[in-house]
Assembly symmetry: C2
Homo-oligomer: 168 residues x 2
Amino acid sequence: MSRLDSFIRRLKAQRACLDLAARLVQGLDGAVLELGLGNGRTYDHLRELLPDRRIYVCERQVSPHPDCLPPANLLLLGDMRDTLLNARELLADQVALAHLDPGTGDLAASHALAVDLAPLIVPLLRPGGVLVSEPAVAWNGLSPMALPAGVLPGRYHLYRRVSSQSST
Amino acid sequence: MSRLDSFIRRLKAQRACLDLAARLVQGLDGAVLELGLGNGRTYDHLRELLPDRRIYVCERQVSPHPDCLPPANLLLLGDMRDTLLNARELLADQVALAHLDPGTGDLAASHALAVDLAPLIVPLLRPGGVLVSEPAVAWNGLSPMALPAGVLPGRYHLYRRVSSQSST
């Protein structure tokens, strides 16, 4: 399997997980949190899936495709380790769907980031809220969910926040 | 259709065209020419499809995934407008399969590059050789070919060099 093959497989898994997560939160009010904007591809997809939600976007350096620039009032600019901590006042228990995908290709860095961010992301999720993530995330109050058909275990990750008190 | 959807569609079209091109040149000796390395995804795919061919790679700044670094003796370093002209002595009528995909997302720049490069690429192709390209390419001696099943016209492009004398 070439890197082109595995990249296509990864993007299809990402899309299938986002599509499923959007269906899973249909009955759950709340914001969306895109953890990393990059070129704005998945932000654009989230925008299409959930046109009526506020989509907050964390990013250090905003340089997406010009069509994919989030509104300034929904941008959380800076290192996510700082911005997510500061966002707690605004967003604690307010997020129905969060998506984390640093997508740097550096597995060790992605894993380290997930370890740092897990305790910052979980308190923002509403009970019942869903986290879609490419690095696996382990934290009290996050329960792994079944993946969409066709996505093999470990390729992408879905979690639900199962309780409010155990993670704050 | 989101940018994530269209990106996946584009990568699948690219892969389908490369796979078909590799089959089309099965009976045609000759080198492969990757016009732009980027992160090395399609280089890796070409390497898998055509393990016994010499794959020459044009690139200005080589920074692929570490697994996808071409051998130094097959790298044509610099602006393709220069390197392809200089490569004529080495590669004229020697290339069975060439792949052009600047992939910058800047359509005007891609089109301008294709206009500049077409007269430099065609003389390197063997008669019967195949050019796979994302910007459309028009030049004497290049004949458009049918695309693989599922790839809509205009999404990606396949050409065959139909004569040797009309393009040099």
